[in-house]
Symmetry: C2
Subunit: 290 residues, 2 copies
């Protein structure tokens, strides 16, 4: 009997391992071209072609040049962006860029109020369902704004790209974000490595003080803005690889973000639980037939 | 008895899972600054500071602008770089950028001949020891040239940066690389996704025809040049994440390469064997005490 169950356990474990091996990739970065959005006044991405065709020396040759601000398209805000002496892009340890991802969905609230700021209550409601926000995770705030990208007016609330302030110093930008109280709560009560958003700004568009940026970055937490395909990220269980261009002393950089979904083989936790379950079943059956 | 062994199995599996979880990261990208090397004639990286200090509106603010060619520093050569109609940077599937890594060491031969080109024999010698080059792996060629980076003369064999050819059309560059026969052999006999090198050129410096580039890229295999820290990559067993900046229609791009060493948690195969072993031990013990 023990032998038969051993074979059963063996088969179950092998099956679970093989199943977990099959992850699917989610690309969470927008491509860079002349339509790539940056916050008003930040600038543009420009690609100029060096060669694209046959040359005297080669049957085919392509190469290009580019110019861009650090903070454009899907980009990382290093903590130094808003906080003196904090990490620049090339200081961020890899272990803070390859980590667990969680997603907090505020898209229904943002539909009603385009300047909605995520609250402490939103975070506590999330934890009520999913448990505590894991240590050293990258927290994504899903606003639904990705659906508007790259429509400048819908996405940023203004077609202006020369300034984000009007003559009275009021913000022209409208977009949902993270309220400063929620940012402060995260810094004081949880241990995240970064905060990402599928909109133009970690802060709500109407917060011209950039308080959420400042609070997070003072605590050496990085930001990621203009995250793509956040509608497809599950609220928990994904692993994320957010690898920025390694700009020496950069305050920000283009970042390529890939999430691994559907039972990433690298998800030790999922593996642990699968193994636990199988062993648990075996334990119960063994006890029954003892 | 069965119960006691169940607990044993449970403990063993949990231990193996927790052990496998501990990988270490290897950063295989150089930082971008004014010393970043590009092949002679390709150009320079320039960072210009927008703000770096207190401003009227913020206690601290940093942001910068940059200009650069695609093919500088640690960068990917998309197949379209040298082959008409082949993949550009944003066409490369993620599954070809996150994969197994192998390393072929030609550093001793490059010490003797700075224009050494890896041969078919080098590849066959490697396979003699390590087995067949795995399908869909990224193959790194370790020349030892990383030790010279960013010393232009030692690394590229010339201090010229305006051209790589002299008046007679002969290459000024000296650096080890991959011989075209080895490139052709890989295309015809193996199934790699990309070829990386810790030098300025996939081809040997003296091959001004860029034949290895052309042969590989015609087969939609990408290249990576100026790979950092290749001395620390094991010959087999690492997993690599090579995530390029997503330039629309790019022929190349800055790429951040991270290798996971020492029992990556994502190594499903290692996990499978660990689980197999534990279950095997249990099976034998069960049979003994039946």
């Amino acid at each position: 009997m023990a032998c038969r169950f051993s074979v059963l356990v063996l088969l179950c474990v092998v099956t679970s391992v093989l199943t977990l091996e099959k992850g699917t990739f989610l690309d969470m970065s927008y491509g860079y071209d002349e339509n790539t959005l940056a916050y008003p006044s930040v600038g543009f991405f420009q690609l100029s072609i060096g060669e694209r065709g046959p040359t005297d020396n080669f049957p085919w040759l392509e190469y290009n040049y580019m110019s861009l601000p650090e903070h454009i398209g899907t980009h990382i805000d290093a903590p130094a962006h808003f906080a003196k002496g904090r990490m620049r892009v090339d200081d961020i340890p890899i272990g803070r860029l390859i980590c667990a991802a969680v997603r907090v969905d505020i898209s229904e609230k943002a539909k009603i109020d385009r300047d909605y700021g995520m609250t402490v209550q939103d975070l506590q409601d999330w934890e009520e369902i999913h448990g505590k926000i894991p240590d050293e995770s990258l927290l994504f705030v899903y606003t639904g704004w990705g659906a508007f990208y790259p429509d400048r007016l819908a996405y940023q609330g203004t077609t202006r790209n020369d300034t984000y302030l009007d003559e009275q110093g009021e913000s022209l930008v409208h977009s949902p974000g993270v309220g400063p109280e929620a940012g402060t709560w995260l810094v004081q009560n949880r241990n995240i490595v970064g905060l990402g958003i599928d909109g133009p700004n970690l802060d709500c568009g109407q917060n011209e003080e950039f308080m959420t940026h400042r609070v997070l970055m003072e605590a050496d937490i990085y930001g990621i803005e203009n995250v793509a395909n956040l509608d497809q990220l599950p609220n928990t269980g994904a692993k994320v690889y957010a690898l920025p261009m390694k700009i020496v002393d950069g305050s920000g950089a283009p970042v390529r973000i890939i999430a691994m979904l559907d039972g990433d083989s690298s998800s030790g936790t999922a593996m642990l639980w699968a193994t636990f379950s199988v062993c648990g079943v075996f334990l119960v059956i063994s006890l029954m037939f003892q």
